[in-house]
């Protein structure tokens, strides 16, 4: 314990722990609870049965009533611990409840029916993960379909984004041609025009192209990101021109120069753009909401939204679906946090 405290209060270089350090720690611990708490709560809740979800106040962990199979009864019966009265200390199974009295039975003597005041009994609970919340997403709901739609859009859009943006960035970084500055400024200018202010006409273009209710209607408008072009161009500027010239002397076509020299050397920037693009497309909401109106085309985000919008929110499945949706991003975060944060800090984009 002392070593833990020692470790936590250690500061690089100097020693001593003053009031501001304690306040900082309090803030950070509170922040951690506030940031992770709700997510953790959703993850725990997603393993609860409908009955446990309805319980108020809720339990932290997913508990479910323990049941026993009793001879002579078709269904398993719920098990109770008796806390008072005649049968105090015994474990009985409940057959049914009539008013304030419960008809119960001892699993060891299935023939005898016992009457117990409901105030004298406590349900026996056990930790039980309702994995069925998850499995039913696949069996009863079209979850696989939504997942596929999301994965398809994310992967295809990211591949196209990286390809097109890096080609444009290559042209802007490594060629001198008339109109280069103009094109670059034009692309920078589109940074100023978020798609949200052009929803109506983009919808027209998409519907003219017959892409309403098609994943391509989400993919194409999104792939030419000014952010990506800008990010990659800045990076490619640092690749020495001599390398490209050397490749040209080595009989490389321009396409080969791009593909074999510039692309591999831009790998760090491309990784950042890939992560961004995956994040953008996986999390996209408003535009898919407009373009995809048929439920078999829904992405995960749309499916989640339509689930929660139903009159009687089906929380058990909704929570499971939420968890499955945040899982991939959480993995990306866990493994690539450093990459992402430096990428963002350097480029100032998200």
């Amino acid at each position: 314990m002392a070593t833990v405290l020692n470790f936590l209060t250690r500061r690089r270089g100097r020693h001593g722990f003053d009031l501001t350090d304690w306040l900082s720690w309090a803030y950070l611990v509170f922040g951690t609870v506030l940031m992770f708490g709700p997510v953790l709560w959703v993850v725990l809740s997603s393993f609860k049965t409908d009955a446990a979800l309805a319980q108020y106040p809720p339990t932290l962990l997913p508990f479910a009533a323990k049941t026993v199979a009793v001879e002579g009864y078709d269904k398993p019966l719920e098990l109770y611990r008796i806390t008072g009265g005649e049968y105090q200390g015994r474990h009985l199974a409940e057959i049914r409840r009539i008013g304030l009295v419960a008809q119960m039975v001892d699993p060891a003597e299935p023939d005898k029916r016992l009457k117990v005041n409901i105030k004298d009994r406590q349900p026996e609970q056990a930790l039980a993960f309702a994995v069925s919340n998850y499995t039913e997403l696949f069996s009863r709901f079209n979850f696989a379909r939504y997942l596929w739609n999301s994965v398809f859009i994310t992967v295809v859009a990211t591949v196209i984004t990286v390809l097109f943006n890096s080609m444009a960035a290559f042209a802007l970084a490594k060629y001198k041609f008339r109109g280069r500055t103009a094109v670059f400024l034009l692309i920078i200018a589109t940074l100023m025009i978020p798609p949200t202010i052009n929803l109506v006409p983009i919808f027209l273009v998409v519907s003219k192209l017959g892409m309403v209710n098609s994943p391509w209607g989400v993919i194409w408008p999104a792939v030419a990101t000014p952010t990506g072009v800008f990010l990659l161009r800045q990076y490619m500027l640092t690749i020495p021109d001599d390398l490209l010239d050397a490749a040209r002397m080595d009989h490389a076509s321009e396409w080969r120069v791009y593909w074999r020299i510039v692309m591999p050397l831009s790998a760090p920037a491309i990784a950042v753009l890939t992560i961004f693009s995956v994040m953008w497309r996986w999390n996209d909401f408003l535009w898919p909401l407009i373009v995809l109106t048929r439920s078999e085309q829904f992405t995960l985000q749309l499916a989640l939204n339509s689930f929660q919008g139903e009159l009687q929110t089906n929380w058990s499945h909704l929570l499971a679906m939420t968890v499955l949706t945040l899982l991939p991003i959480t993995f990306v975060f866990a493994f690539l946090q450093k990459y992402i944060t430096t990428g963002i800090a350097q480029s100032g984009v998200k």
């Binding site: 470790f7 250690r10 100097r14 900082s24 720690w25 803030y27 950070l28 922040g31 506030l34 940031m35 992770f36 709700p38 997510v39 709560w41 809740s45 106040p57 809720p58 080609m167 444009a168 290559f170 060629y175 041609f177 692309i187 589109t190 100023m192 978020p194 949200t196 202010i197 052009n198 929803l199 109506v200 983009i202 919808f203 027209l204 273009v205 194409w220 030419a224 076509s253 321009e254 396409w255 080969r256 999390n283 909401f285 909401l289 407009i290 985000q301 989640l304 929570l319 939420t322 949706t325 945040l326 991003i329 959480t330 990306v332 975060f333 946090q337 992402i340 944060t341 963002i344 800090a345």
Partner: protein
């Protein structure tokens, strides 16, 4: 791992080989001088179709009426849509306006932007300052605050909806503490509070990151010099950290303003704009008018988005000016 990288390399090679011949043909066709355009073309076509063309079309939608999507079927109405939007006896009282929801949305957006951006900056600054201290597990805590940034808006909204629901965790906690529970998302004031809170919760990590980068760019010898001068902690903060951080703060301010004006996703899922129109913001109005409601009033939506664009344009130009002056200074 090696298998995966071999597979990636094979696909990469195959893609290259299949594309080289046609592109070499194009390269020979257009000549070296114009080969740059060959690389630019795909991106420019998409920019053209989905950004530049729509900018122009937006204007045509804003000046035509009816619920037809095809421009050829839309009658010209001039500035009618703008007049409808702006028809108001008293701009401070949405009830006197023809498009009362539009004006409510504007009021809400203004309130939201001021509150959200103000609080966001305060909290992200405090967090960045603390994370910039010499504390163990600094990397972990940085990750903690950044994690929600990556979550999708829908997921963020659902997480909080689950916590805030009538019989949710928060109310249970309050009752445990002897307080009375509240129906958070049904009360107008509370739900406004929560959309501010949740959007800050979701995006703060991003600004913390930028501020941290700004803090770390302050050379440590400045602090050492101040220490030699015997400056107190607060003085160091007011006279050194804050002034040197100001450019970064302005960037954060402008970026968060631009985002706040366009806030939609989390709020749409969390409150649906309600109760009533208490949390309906401007983008929500545009979406409702243009796409959700029947008939779809594309013209009105386009006109509203042009008004929003004007605000964004000002904010973005501000950002560019700031970034430039920072780059030069």
């Amino acid at each position: 791992m090696t298998f995966a990288s071999t597979a990636v390399r094979t696909v990469y090679q195959a893609a290259f080989n299949s594309l080289e011949r046609p592109l070499l043909f194009v390269q020979n066709l257009v000549g070296m001088r114009r080969v740059a355009w060959m690389f630019l073309l795909p991106n420019l076509v998409i920019f053209g179709a989905f950004t530049f063309l729509p900018i122009i079309l937006n204007y045509f939608y804003a000046t035509t009426g009816s619920d037809a999507i095809l421009l050829s079927q839309r009658p010209y109405v001039g500035a009618e849509n703008f007049r409808t939007l702006l028809a108001c006896k008293d701009y401070l009282d949405p009830n006197t306006c023809q498009q009362d929801i539009f004006w409510r949305a504007i009021h809400n957006t203004a309130k939201f932007v001021v509150l959200q951006v103000g609080l966001m900056i305060v909290f992200s600054l405090v967090t960045a300052l603390i994370l910039n201290r010499d504390i163990v597990l600094r990397g972990f805590f940085r990750g903690v605050f950044f994690y929600p940034v990556l979550l999708s808006p829908v997921v963020v909204a659902l997480i909080w909806k689950w916590v805030l629901q009538r019989y949710g965790l928060l109310n249970a906690g309050l009752e445990e503490a002897g307080l009375s529970s509240v129906n958070w998302l049904v009360d107008a004031n509370w739900s406004f509070f929560w959309i501010v809170f949740v959007t800050i919760w979701a995006h703060m990590g991003f600004y913390v990151l930028i501020l941290l980068a700004g803090l770390q760019a302050i050379p440590s010898d400045v602090y050492e010099a101040a220490e030699m001068d015997g400056a107190s902690k607060w003085r160091v903060f007011y006279r050194i950290t804050l002034p040197l951080l100001t450019p970064t703060m302005v960037v954060v301010l402008v970026l968060s303003l631009i985002r706040a004006v366009q806030a939609f996703d989390e709020i749409f899922v969390l409150t649906g704009g309600g109760p009533g129109t208490a949390t309906t913001l401007i983008l929500h109005y545009i979406y409702e008018t243009g796409f959700a409601a029947r008939p779809r009033l594309f013209g009105l939506a386009a006109a509203a988005s042009i008004l929003m664009a004007a605000v964004l344009m000002v904010l973005t130009l501000l950002q560019l000016a700031v970034t430039r002056s920072r780059a030069e200074g």
